[in-house]
Amino acid sequence: MTDMIAKDGVEEETVEAVKSLSGEYKYGFSTDVEMEYAPLGLTEDIVRLISEKNEEPEWMLEWRLQAFERWKQMEEPDWAMVDYPKIDFQDIYYYARPASMAEEKPKSLDDVDPKLLETYAKLGIPLKEQALLAGVEAPEGERKVAVDAVFDSVSVGTTFQDELKKAGVIFMSISEALKEHPDLVKKYIGTVVPQSDNFYATLNSAVFSDGSFVYIPEGVKCPMELSTYFRINAENTGQFERTLIIAEKGSYVSYLEGCTAPQRDVAQLHAAVVELVIQEDAEIKYSTVQNWFPGDAEGKGGIYNFVTKRADCRGDRAKVMWTQVETGSAVTWKYPSCILRGDDSQGEFYSIAIANNFQQADTGTKMIHLGKNTKSRIVSKGISAGKAQNTYRGLVSMHPKAANARNYTQCDSLLIGDKCGAHTVPYIEVKNNTARVEHEATTSKVDDDQLFYCRSRGMDEEEAVALVVNGFCKEVLQALPMEFAMEAQALVAISLEGSVG
């Protein structure tokens, strides 16, 4: 019974949240702070400058330069089902930071420019060390969330550092980690997503400016949720963050990632890399609520989101769970993947991708089964409205040694209106005859009878759509941590506003 109230509580908030928010992108404001930019465009000097600004060790610079050399030889991929004007990589700023964050970095959050703090307050991100979203009924008592806030190219600050340190957990920006724990970074960076992986990952390797670093020592269950909040503020600036999470033997961490950007009519580039290393019996839950500015109703502006995320289950019985709610971006190109190397390791991928107006999403996952008895599960819910195109692209690969490996894929598409599209592109490779792959796919339209039923009970059309769509996404929403589930439900509703009637 208590269980029911908690879950119901989550959904009930949806409609209230929808009502309380306007129909427009809510995070579209920009912050007026003095910014420091690197010169426009990308050259070797820019790569050196970023490394220098971060006061990095020499090997890091070498690594970046190597990536840059490689990138210059590479071609932008064009196989995804997305269509956007050619990006001029020389017409982008690769580094921007608030002037107040220059040279003398603030020692604690209290010293951070109030304007920056205000930005996060406005976004609803708690940088004060308090429970996220006060008033949420949390089943296991009070829940704390540590936040690393990244503003354009730099991390503004990280909360709960002391408490985490006591538990032995390292949670800081990657630029700080390069100073304080260079050996750890050196040992793991690029080992999951190699420099050469793909065009955007190579670009990121050359120019990443900041991001989060997490290290959970052997046997430690991280005492709180960790989260990074990415905010693109500066105009015409790319955001290239890099996140590295290492879970040692038998450890556990749940990590959340959130993103927003101001409403601008020129598109902006976001090319991130996320690497997860999971050792024996360890588990990482990685949740994303991606709410970049999607462009306006005519399709102008928005974020081009090209992201490489990969988890390497190195040890036996290692577990990873990716959960993503993708509501934003003009263009999304993203395939969080799992390498199931350890025997009995498990990968799960839960995804909601919503595309409205002129948005284009090409997203999915890759499950690479290398070890024995490895298991993976994919649940993808794609929702298309307006003139949007939504593609699920998934690879399940069973290698010769993956005896008794199992995959289950469920891929559901929901269409709202008749000008949008949904596409499912599964790739399946099985090189072991004891492996089993199951794939189910459905495409449906929002049912008029369901909407009429809701409306005859008093809900307006948008409430009705939000309710039905949230029902469609239920399995994925349930995979999110409580706090995010509510935010995600509200987002689902907001991003579909104007899609009916």
Binding site: M1, M4, I5, K7, D8, G9, E11, E12, V15, K19, D447, D448, D449, Q450, F452, Y453, C454, R455, S456, R457, G458, M459, D460, E461, E463, L467, V468, N470, G471, F472, C473, K474, E475
Partner: protein, 251 residues
């Protein structure tokens, strides 16, 4: 309460007249029944009152306490106090029955400018009302109508009606597909809502439901019109002699 005048309705998609001038006046606190052969237009009448798409009103009016229903959106009709218990309740996967109910209750309260029910108040009310309809906690938790038996679906409609406290309740074949015990339960649920003010329009094919929900007035509908109106004895006449005699009489 409900006044339907010369209501004429066709289909939007094709040239077909379904209701050919329906007249019906239901006063405060009254219970009326509409009986009639299959295809006579009973469900269409209820759908048009509730505002379902696909029908075209070509003439007439339907007012609830003087307000024209036909000009309103479905949700406005609900907020004005109209409730339709569906002949075939719709399934909504993934949406908890309780969530659905609370969203509906609060949407109507908001539309009427009333304060929303708190989670606690709501829960207390639902549990009490669910209990009298023998709806258990599990059914409240399950997704709306998904995997419900015929009887469960109909009981669930009555629960929604009890929670929404409408002024005018239209029940479309709420008895169809129910065994005797289930029908009694539903009838008790309906009777519990009779308070001398709330009005009911009970659509049914058979007389047996009317043994449990006693109507004040019985109408016979045939071929898109009310062809005969009388007291409860009219229902018995149908039960004993079928529709043929009545239809022959009015032809």
């Amino acid at each position: 309460m409900l006044n339907i005048k010369n209501l004429q309705v066709g289909l939007e998609e094709e040239e077909k007249q379904i209701l050919k001038g329906v007249d019906l006046n239901i006063g405060e606190g009254e219970v009326h029944a509409i009986m009639g052969p299959n295809g006579s237009g009973k469900s269409t009448t209820s759908y048009v009152l509730a505002g379902k798409d696909g029908y075209e009103v070509t003439g007439g009016s339907a007012t609830l306490n003087g307000e024209e229903l036909l000009d309103m959106e479905p949700e406005e009709r609900a907020a004005a106090g109209l409730f339709l218990a569906f002949q075939y309740p719709v399934e909504i996967p993934g949406v908890g029955n309780m969530t659905f109910l609370r969203t509906a209750v609060n949407a109507q309260r908001k539309a009427r400018g009333e304060e929303e029910l708190s989670a606690g108040e709501f829960l207390k009310e639902v549990r009490a009302k669910a209990k009298s309809l023998k709806i258990d906690a599990d059914m409240l938790k399950r997704p709306v109508n998904v995997g419900f038996s015929g009887g469960e679906k109909k009981r669930n409609e009555i629960l929604q009606m009890a929670m929404l406290e409408p002024k005018m309740c239209v029940l479309d074949e709420t008895d169809s597909g129910l065994d005797v015990d289930a029908m009694k339960l539903v009838a008790e649920g309906v009777n519990a809502l009779r308070d001398g003010k709330r009005s009911f329009l009970v659509i049914t094919h058979y007389q047996r439901l009317l043994d449990h929900i006693k109507p004040d007035v019985v109408h016979i509908m045939a071929d898109g019109k009310i062809v005969k109106t009388g007291g409860p004895e009219l229902a018995l006449e149908v039960e004993n002699n079928g529709y043929a005699d009545i239809l022959a009489e009015v032809a």
